[in-house]
Amino acid sequence: MRNSARAWSRLVHPAVVIVLAAVVIGIPLWLALVTSAKSQGEANLPDLSLPRVWHLWDNYSQAFSQGHMLWALFGSLLVMVPSVAGVLIFGSLASWVLARRTGRVMAVLYSAAISGIILPPAVVTIVLLLRQLHLASTPTGMVLVYMGMYMSLVIFFVTGFVRTIPVEVEEAARMDGARPLGIFIKVVLPLLRPVIATATILICLYIWNDVFYAFFVLGGGTYSTLPLNLYSVASSNLYQNNWNLVFAYVVLMSLPLIVVFVVAQRRIISGITGGAVK
């Protein structure tokens, strides 16, 4: 009994883990990787074999230029950075007040504010609204739509977190004569770091990879994002069967995030769970 338990933890368990990771995650990623280095003819029917002739550089440079990657990268950053910054600043400011004041009005406001966690955004009429505001197909419109979509998530996370911070920490600053905004920035905001990290990581992931809302808001305009361009590269796949380019694009687009993650994985994982599970 004892020996078998030890054999399990020393030999069988690690073997199971490695085989599972290699099969479940390794095979799909390997398929994307090898196909991205094949010639168009060889990639026509994707398989797991190594390329007979390596077309790595050709494919990647073609995906880079044909998929307008730099422009899409710029577009992705242009909508993600202000959306995340805006929703976190406005959201945590409001959360502080919602957490500290009580009464029926605040309870109603809080419920309304977090209803967006559950209710799906009205994506079609958002387009209509943006047209009326002359914001259709603009990064500004996209930023405001993302802020509206993720405000609820921020308010839900941050309000819950603020309630765990004792009021006393604010009182010292208040006695020194600090005004509310000063207290918020100097005392409260630094304490919110864990929950802001959680919200930042999750919202960045959602926005960076979003294609549905970006299609409705930015579609047909000058600006694009990485997933939108991947979709157009892959849609032309229907006519040209260029799996090699699709996967070159997939690898190029995924690599930066994966590198960031592998480097900072401890902080990212503890960041995600820090604010999510009480």
Binding site: I27, A32, A122, L144, R174, L181, V246
Partner: protein, 301 residues
């Protein structure tokens, strides 16, 4: 001496000075204009003839609702959306829990495997979808591997069955997100005090008994979080389906968001709005009771 603030009533004017209502204004302005206003529009424009084909928008009553009812799109999309969301919630939570239990101990191999299983979470769902579209072709690598294993040719149409493809697509989406569920379960498992587990061991509880009676109930908040986010996320399921099947075969994986996308692309904006309204009502009707139920179960335990 300043009177104790924590004793002051929340509704006292003092609180309103310390925590000014004006701080609520920017967040609620954004919410009002870019979230609630479009939602209100949803209830209006679903009953008009708004389309790409003419400039004026006129009310048409229930014509759109009748149209999506009579061509079967509404009920079929609703059914597929619910089936898809439930499948994803079950698979994603199950896979995540399995992985968390497998990789719970803090060994070097487990830490490495956690990173590996988290990689799909970072990838765009479109990228994941295209990868699986290639992997699951009838003459593709997965059938090739299965064929090599059993020694005869396998040509399962993973993405071509009108009955089972919705399961495959739900699996692909769960594959993409199971790393996140795993991380949340790992955090939940960590909060279980060691002495509780020790007491169970002394009482002679085996692995399974300890899991059933102690660990699983104690990670109820993580289950709630995972099931709720998986359900809500896949009521809005889009990217994975777009990249694997595009809604096919024979529209048997056409969830509401795919329908909205397709019909909007055809210029039938009002019909797309009608389906968007259907999605809103579906979520409002289903999500609140589900979350309420999960919450209540958490408190009982």
């Amino acid at each position: 001496m300043i009177p104790s603030l924590s004793a002051a009533s929340g509704r006292s004017p003092r609180r309103a000075v310390l925590y000014p209502s004006s701080f609520l204004a920017p967040a609620f302005a954004v919410l009002a204009v870019f979230f609630f206003l479009p939602t209100v529009f949803n209830f209006v424009y679903a009953f008009t003839d708004w389309s790409a084909f003419h400039d004026d928008i006129r009310p048409v009553g229930l014509a759109n609702v009748k149209a999506v009812l009579s061509n079967g799109a509404l009920l079929s999309s609703l059914r597929i959306t619910i089936v898809y969301a439930v499948l994803v919630a079950i698979m994603q939570t199950g896979f995540g829990l399995g992985l968390a239990l497998l990789l719970e101990r803090d060994t070097r191999i487990n830490r490495f495997a956690r990173v590996v299983f988290f990689i799909p979470v970072l990838m765009s769902a479109l990228a994941v979808g295209y990868t699986f579209q290639a992997l699951l072709k009838p003459d593709g690598p997965l059938n090739g591997l299965l064929g090599a294993l059993i020694g005869q040719q396998v040509t399962i149409p993973w993405l071509g069955s009108t009955t089972w493809t919705v399961v495959t697509v739900a699996f692909v989406n769960s594959w993409k997100w199971m790393g996140l569920a795993m991380v949340i379960f790992l955090a939940g498992l960590k909060t279980i005090p060691a002495d509780v587990l020790e007491a169970a061991r002394i009482d002679g509880a085996g692995r399974w008994r300890t899991f059933r009676s102690i660990r699983f109930p104690l990670i109820a908040p993580a289950v709630t979080f995972n099931v709720a986010t998986a359900l809500l996320g896949s009521f809005n399921g889009f990217d994975t389906i777009l990249a694997t099947t595009g809604g096919g075969p024979a529209q048997q994986t056409e969830v509401l968001d795919i329908y909205i996308f397709r019909v909007y692309g055809n210029g039938l904006f009002a019909q797309a709005t009608t389906m968007s309204l259907a999605l809103l009502l579906l979520v409002a009707l289903l999500a609140f009771p589900v979350i309420g139920y999960l919450r209540k179960r958490e408190r009982v335990l």
